[in-house]
Symmetry: C3
Subunit: 321 residues, 3 copies
Amino acid sequence: MGLLHNQFGIRHVISSAQFGREALACVFEGADDIAEKFAQGRRHEYAHALDGAVVASYFFEPSTRTRWSFESGTHRMGGSVITTENAEKFSSAVKGERLEDSVRVIGHYADAIVMRHKRTGAAELAANYAKVPVINAGDGTGEHPTQAMLDLYTIKKLRGTIDGVNIAIVGDLRLGRTVRSLAKGLCNYKKVTVHFVAPDILQVSPDVVDYLALRRVKFQKHSNINEVLADMDCIYMTRTQRERMTAEEDTATKNADTEYGIGTHNLHLMRPDQILMHPLPRNNEIEFSPLTDGRAKSVYLDDQIKAGLHVRAFLLKDLLN
Amino acid sequence: MGLLHNQFGIRHVISSAQFGREALACVFEGADDIAEKFAQGRRHEYAHALDGAVVASYFFEPSTRTRWSFESGTHRMGGSVITTENAEKFSSAVKGERLEDSVRVIGHYADAIVMRHKRTGAAELAANYAKVPVINAGDGTGEHPTQAMLDLYTIKKLRGTIDGVNIAIVGDLRLGRTVRSLAKGLCNYKKVTVHFVAPDILQVSPDVVDYLALRRVKFQKHSNINEVLADMDCIYMTRTQRERMTAEEDTATKNADTEYGIGTHNLHLMRPDQILMHPLPRNNEIEFSPLTDGRAKSVYLDDQIKAGLHVRAFLLKDLLN
Amino acid sequence: MGLLHNQFGIRHVISSAQFGREALACVFEGADDIAEKFAQGRRHEYAHALDGAVVASYFFEPSTRTRWSFESGTHRMGGSVITTENAEKFSSAVKGERLEDSVRVIGHYADAIVMRHKRTGAAELAANYAKVPVINAGDGTGEHPTQAMLDLYTIKKLRGTIDGVNIAIVGDLRLGRTVRSLAKGLCNYKKVTVHFVAPDILQVSPDVVDYLALRRVKFQKHSNINEVLADMDCIYMTRTQRERMTAEEDTATKNADTEYGIGTHNLHLMRPDQILMHPLPRNNEIEFSPLTDGRAKSVYLDDQIKAGLHVRAFLLKDLLN
């Protein structure tokens, strides 16, 4: 058993709500050590951390990036991977099999199950039936806790602390599991202010609002990014999920890119010390062309990605030990 | 060359008919040793058994469970895997390539080919052209020999012997390659009685009947599971493959779940020493909810799965040595 | 940094044009050593060449053969693989993500990216953004440089030298990236004559013709294979890509198999020392049935495949060191 289990009783990673300030500090410290060794050409020190272990990538929704992040972490720690890109189409799910049976079985093949599913709550259900750790890699409109961890870890690395952060979370907030997990994670820190920037129709869901209110975390809603851009420490952009929208929503977000996006039209409002984040994939909400003019720290293609690799490698190592 | 080749002349695993009583005993013994080491935390003793070996998972029909069973076994023995979930759509098969060319080529990339194919006889064809061992992981309505081995191995582990077993094979028997392979395998043992339980329209195919008759294995056909349930040592349930049925077949099996299924309505007929098996995926033929009330030994989510892992790991190790 | 980078400044493998005679000699020598060790049962000498390395198979077009060739090479050198069979359908590409973002991100997960893409120029674009080596495994109608390398390497192994070779390149030449890459590669050798055999409508594209002309490589066009068959050292057959043809092209190639194919009707024109090659998949342009009657050396199912494995294993090892 690893630190997360011994100190915090964590066996599965299902929701951000499981991870308090101390548990997150433990994850960040573990990720720091991996990051340091990797950066110093000392990969071999972790090359046997998962010797003999098999990790199952059980993805019912394709997501090459998240899948590969976990798989690369597994390989770099010396473990092996069994993988499916699209269990929805390629597994017995099409023959009517229940998830309960599948995860119970997979627990005999693998020492951990990393699961992405279309149904909210699927990861929790899986954790109830699997005899090995389950890591939620996104469940419907539910949660994506490892994304939140890597986001928080990125902020901590770049700012030194998450306490006191002024953060704008921008875009399609209504259905975003990433947004839900990140907002919950932010509640662990002091003097945080969250600015939700979105058209009304895509604003953050009531359960997130309630979660923050209950914990007395300050938040505000805005309908135009330029209202807050200059004052933020972090700007967390998300993709407009146009393919999921109704006609009404599509119309209401016609100018989304200019009202909620970052580009040449409002880049002058930014400062070099601001952190510009994105869970990817990015469409037009951050104008394409790397923001290399020193106006802000764009971390979505590098720092966040490395943070994800190191956080997930640590989680696997710790949960499997 | 391993034991199967040296003692029994087996280079490929294509049909249950290749494996006589002695060859099966050899497989069970090999699987036993792997099971024992794994259960005792001595995985490392097998961790280099397939060092440097590459196994190809060549699946023309998706089957995450069977594929992962072989792949997990490979990884746990120290081997590597190259894999395709759906060669039907993702390989040169769509460009009209012949299987003969493909397997000859793959034999240069891999040290063994595990193949699932829609066409009956495909595995045998592949074995004729490949220069490396081919393992049939299901060919059309033909055979699924490693499933039969794990089924027999499970019975042996739980009963001590397969001789004298009274077994009901229930459900959609007509097209089932699993049923064909299992029935053939059972013919190696003494005083076995096989009860085929299915509506007439889905009863076991004539070639299986002939195979048993020729070997003087006792069998009976039944149309309702309750006729035999109380007297069986093993009940082997299979899925109603409703997606393959004609309208006539669909009508004839309307009450399949109550006439051929296990559930609260007939669970009282069962005894704690009876073994309830299923090759999975399970639909409604075994009522959902683990049968944990001590009425029977439900082994389809655990014992059979582990047996599969150990049998397949042994086969790969032995054929590749 | 490996030999290719130090001696020839090669960091990515995008086009045949990057590889001059000396660079190709370096690749062949490296592949020779791998081939020798593998043939002598000394695989273990290379079993740690890629220790700790992760290679990404990033395939937007399915191609099990090419993908597995790279992946098997990676495994045999001790590396690990993260893979996608069909990024077109299973990745964020469907959500509108740009390749630039994807490859930048993947460069943090993997130490090299092997990419197959439908768009000509995609590999070069990727190389501009990735921070790790990119190997072009086919980009639209552009290039397939590692195929050309294995083709040239096969000729060298069988003939001793590529200088002076009389080669017929036959079939659907118009769109073939394989043909483009091979033709460019042949320009590095002395006294080569290339015979392009195809119906007018499928003849080799002007850019290839110009490339050869500029380098004063002799070439001729023919419309029937039997015009040249007896005089060739090598016959390089390619598949008629009927699924991509217009109605006009389809009509013009109705008799393609007899006019441009090899079969019992013209096999008597061949000699035992001639090399019969094909990049696969093969349809009817080489009559099905292995040409084992000693009429020619058919190398497309064995020698070329092994050459591909060894060339790619060398490239990965060299670029990643």
